[in-house]
């Protein structure tokens, strides 16, 4: 089943400004170039709780889910 890009883009809106700022840059730089597989990984990652996601992005918590690691890397770059 194909994933709707618009839905994933909307779900990058988060509860914390910290993440909004990171995702705003990510959406600008990386989002349109994501493959379907990468989009699926991002979709999965976005189900995380905001503080867990933020902790992985800022590096205070290590990401132990393999399929999230690439996206976390791109978010950290952003």
């Amino acid at each position: 089943m194909s994933i709707n890009r618009g839905r994933v883009r909307w779900q990058c809106r988060r509860a914390l400004l910290e993440l909004d700022l990171v995702f705003a840059r990510f959406l600008e730089r990386h989002f349109d170039r994501l493959s379907d597989d990468q989009l699926a990984d991002l979709d999965d990652l976005l189900r995380c709780d905001d503080y867990d996601l933020w902790a992985m992005v800022n590096g205070s918590k290590t990401c132990d889910v393999d399929r999230w690691k690439e996206m976390i890397g791109l978010l950290r770059q952003a």
Partner: protein, 597 residues
């Protein structure tokens, strides 16, 4: 056009703290309740509240609600309604204990009670010394609260409509509220939510400012919808600037940092708050701290190459304290300021944080508006709670930790009022007018057909820069006057926004255009109300209303001890008296006085 209709006992717009607390009251009473939310409930901005919730439990120091009431009235610079404030502070212990029973993981004292910490503006014995009144779950109080409330709602069978955006309020010719129209993002279809009661709990509109601590979802949707449907907005000139946003990013550093011993320093390392607030120092009320910081910067004592910020220093705290009590602060500081606060102080500036004004309500959560000479007539079927509402408990300035208290107390109160009205038969399903969805459909249609208009991003940025420049921490007569002209020009541009993407499904560009319609109402209300209020009070500080013997702090009670009411139609202003009488006959009013800390 045929529009799908859904019918409920009650529809709640917004699933943050206030919406979830109200929903719980309704669902547990057996009312068929729908909650509409743009994002998944636990992704609401309540999550970001770090500091805690105020309640005079007296677990850590002696405390009582009289002291809390005094602090809140004084914090509001006497613009808060004393009936609503008494109601809130007396309900505080009840709603906090309730939350504890829902499983909220509060920090504990050694003997197992809820741990409480000091917070700005909260004092013991009527301003004598800081009191420990804030109940917290580390620095994730809002997060823990929202999860506890969401779980409880799932148990109570509250029906959530996630990723639905409410568009417009539906009112009949008598002005009664009959529900809302809303768009489902997944399909792009507009539906009518027909209900006996409508509760708005949509949060604030902090995104009207360029520099804001607010997440992107805070677009004042309920406030905008209310304004467009003819409901006045109360006290919109009052915005709280949080003293400690990370310079350049806006990300908030909680006041809890100062509660745990953090100190603000200027370029020479001086603890300057000792000069401005000798008693409470760094823990003085937010507006006092923000203005002191801006004064330091304006007078050339700011830090950094551009002398445009001050420093928040916690290097004297033990790393263990920082890790245990303030864990998130370290990461924020490293990520957005490039500074490890264990080793070096954090650069901070005052940043837009909280909307004190909003949809006028009474302490029961009923929306009220002037009618036939009475300033506070309930609008039938309409209720509001939390940051989108103005009860008014925060008046001209909110105390930290009183916002989580506000949303718990008034979310519950609005819910209780709906349940009471429902049980007494006062709430009935009134017939929908034939044109109930026309306004919303016209808005959607305009976006689909608009050509030669303006870009949403450009208009939003113009609005944010206008608000930041003309209605910031310090306000100036000429800038406010120019600001009114500018924001009305921006509002004209907002009427002709266009979007390139016309797809129906998950159209984020359309959502952002619809959000801008709400933001611009809030921006107009703010600028016009601020220009008109010729005094300084709380967060509204004018250069041309300085501190004099006749008008201490620039406050002019003779002419301006009143609430502003702004109407979208014609940008008309009206005013109504502040309620200086507490709710109970045996409670003494807090007499007017100069606000000093």
């Amino acid at each position: 056009m045929n529009v799908a209709k859904r019918t409920f006992d009650a529809v709640i717009v917004g699933a943050g703290g206030a919406g979830l607390r109200a929903a719980l009251q309704l669902s547990e009473a057996g009312l068929k309740t729908a909650v509409l939310t743009k994002v998944f409930p636990t992704r609401s901005h309540t999550v970001a509240a770090q500091g805690g919730v105020a309640a005079s439990l007296g677990n850590s120091t002696e405390d009582n609600w009289h002291w809390h009431m005094y602090d809140t009235v004084k914090g509001s610079d006497w613009l808060g309604d004393q009936d609503a404030i008494e109601f809130m502070v007396r309900k505080a212990n009840e709603v906090v204990i309730e939350l504890e029973h829902y499983g909220m993981p509060f920090d504990r004292t050694d003997n197992g009670k809820i741990y409480q910490r000091p917070f700005g503006g909260h004092s013991m014995n009527y301003g004598q010394a800081p009191v420990m009144r804030s109940c917290a779950a580390a620095d994730r109080t809002g997060h823990a609260m929202l999860h506890a409330l969401y779980q409880r709602n799932v148990r109570a069978n509250t029906q959530f409509f996630v990723e639905w955006m409410a568009l417009d309020l539906i009112r009949n010719s008598e002005g009664d509220v009959l529900g809302v129209t809303a768009i489902e993002m997944e399909t792009g279809e507009v539906s009518i939510f027909h209900a006996k009661a409508t509760i708005f709990a949509t949060g604030g509109a902090g995104r009207i400012y360029y520099s804001s601590t607010n997440a992107f979802i805070n677009t004042g949707d309920g406030v905008g919808m209310a304004a467009r449907s003819g409901i006045p907005l109360e006290d919109m000139e009052f915005w709280q600037f949080h003293p400690t946003g990370v310079a350049g990013a806006g990300v908030l550093i909680t006041e809890g940092v100062r509660g745990e011993g953090g100190i603000l320093r200027n370029a020479s390392g001086e603890r300057f708050m000792e000069r401005y607030a000798p008693n409470l120092k760094d823990l003085a009320s937010r507006d006092v701290v923000s203005r002191s910081m801006v004064t330091e910067i304006n007078e050339g004592r700011g830090c950094g190459p551009d002398k445009d910020h001050v420093l928040l220093d916690i290097t004297h705290l033990s790393p263990e304290t920082i890790m245990k009590r303030l864990p998130g602060i370290r990461e924020i500081s490293i990520q957005f300021a490039g500074v490890d606060p264990i080793k070096a102080p954090i650069p901070v500036v005052p940043t837009c944080h909280y909307q004190m004004g909003g949809i006028p309500t009474n302490y029961k959560g009923q929306v009220v508006a002037p009618k036939n000479g009475d300033a506070n007539v309930p609008v039938a079927g309409f209720y509001a709670a939390g940051e989108c509402a103005c009860a008014s408990v925060h008046g001209a300035n909110r105390l930290g930790t009183n916002s989580l208290l506000d949303l718990l107390v008034f979310g519950k109160s609005a819910g209780e009022t709906v349940v009471e009205d429902f049980k007494s038969g006062n709430l009935v399903l009134k017939p929908l007018p034939a044109d109930a969805a026309d306004v919303s459909l016209a808005r959607i249609n305009r976006l689909e057909t608009q050509t030669g208009g303006s870009e949403v991003h450009d208009v939003r940025l113009a609005m944010q820069r206008t608000m930041q420049k003309h209605a910031g921490v310090f306000r100036f007569k000429e800038l406010l006057q120019q600001g009114v002209t500018s924001i009305l020009e921006v509002a004209e541009q907002a009427k002709v926004t266009q979007i390139a993407d016309k797809s129906k499904v998950w159209n984020t560009a359309r959502t952002e255009a619809l959000e801008l319609d709400n933001l611009i109402e809030v921006a107009k209300a703010t600028m016009i109300s601020a220009e008109a209020r010729k005094e300084s009070r709380g967060a509204h500080v004018r250069d041309d209303a300085p501190d004099t013997a006749e008008h201490p702090n620039g406050r002019d009670d003779q002419n301006w001890l009143k609430h502003t009411l702004w109407y979208s139609e014609g940008n008309r202003l009206d005013y109504k008296p502040v309620n200086l009488k507490p709710l109970s006959a045996d409670v003494e009013p807090i007499a007017l006085a100069k606000r000093t800390y």
